[in-house]
């Protein structure tokens, strides 16, 4: 898979928001994505095409509808390639510290 395409696709706040929204609710149609994101149909379609080309979004036909699914596999591969070889244990300790200090850990 083309890593450049994955990084380029992720380098856009709207596309990351689209992925977050699919993560919350997987298997959405284009129409549902437009409503949930408050973006134009053209805008969502354009971002979806870039995400699909980077293999970050997969789709399936369901009757007459095309459903879109988040595909975390390329992100997982990048994390193994770029993070796994460093010391994962120390990184997760830092992430915990950040979470605690920033108060995201109170649930």
């Amino acid at each position: 898979m083309d890593e450049d395409a994955v990084f380029r696709a992720l380098a856009d706040a709207s596309r990351r928001r689209l992925l977050d929204w699919l993560h919350d609710k997987n298997g959405q149609t284009l129409g549902e994505l437009c409503r949930g994101l408050d973006m134009t149909r053209q805008g969502v379609a354009k971002h979806l095409a870039i995400l699909e080309a980077a293999n970050l979004v997969s789709s399936r036909r369901h009757g007459r509808e095309k459903l879109h699914f988040i595909n975390p596999v390329p992100i997982h591969e990048i994390s193994q390639r770029w993070i796994g070889k460093f010391e994962r244990r120390h990184l997760s300790a830092l992430a915990e510290l950040k979470k605690t200090l920033e108060g995201e850990n109170h649930d």
């Binding site: 898979m1 609710k25 298997g27 293999n55 997969s58 369901h62 596999v73 591969e77």
Partner: protein
């Protein structure tokens, strides 16, 4: 509208190999053990045949049956958890595995789901497949696996 009473995911990876090699990697016990954390599958690999996913110590993790099989293109498994009561009680899920040649690679699609909103079984599978798929990919492409033990 999307079916709200369902849990589904669709994972896709591209592996530089042939459909026959990938099919054999997906179904042969010796190959499976290398990228599936020591687990292997047992089945006669024909429609209606029983199917089991077995832990290294011999306990059955998951079980079900082969719904559809068309080597080296398509495999559908009726799939239930057998070792965690809260997952077992959710019943059967459906896993469709599809292989499609594209250029010098094979597009592998895993569509796993069940007709139940907020399925814990599907949530568990959705966390497991990315690890298995990247191990499978690196094993086929480089001869080595990436993650040796289950995190």
């Amino acid at each position: 509208m999307t079916d709200a009473a369902a849990s589904n995911f669709v994972y896709v990876t591209f592996i530089r190999t042939t459909p026959d090699r990938l099919w054999s990697a997906l179904t042969s016990p010796d190959f499976t053990r290398q990228y599936w954390f020591g687990m292997h599958q047992e089945s006669d690999w024909r429609p209606g045949a029983a199917w089991r996913l077995v832990f290294p110590d011999g306990r059955v993790a998951d079980a079900g049956e082969i719904v559809e099989i068309d080597p080296p293109r398509r495999l559908i498994i009726r799939w239930r958890n057998e070792f965690r009561p809260e997952l077992n009680s959710e019943g059967y899920s459906r896993c469709a595995i599809e292989l499609e040649p594209t250029g010098d690679a094979v597009k592998l699609t895993i569509a796993h789901g069940m007709d139940r909103a907020g399925s814990k079984l599907i949530e568990a599978f959705s966390g497991g497949w990315p690890l298995i798929l990247s191990n499978l990919k690196s094993l086929l492409e480089t001869g080595e696996i990436a993650v040796k033990t289950k995190p």
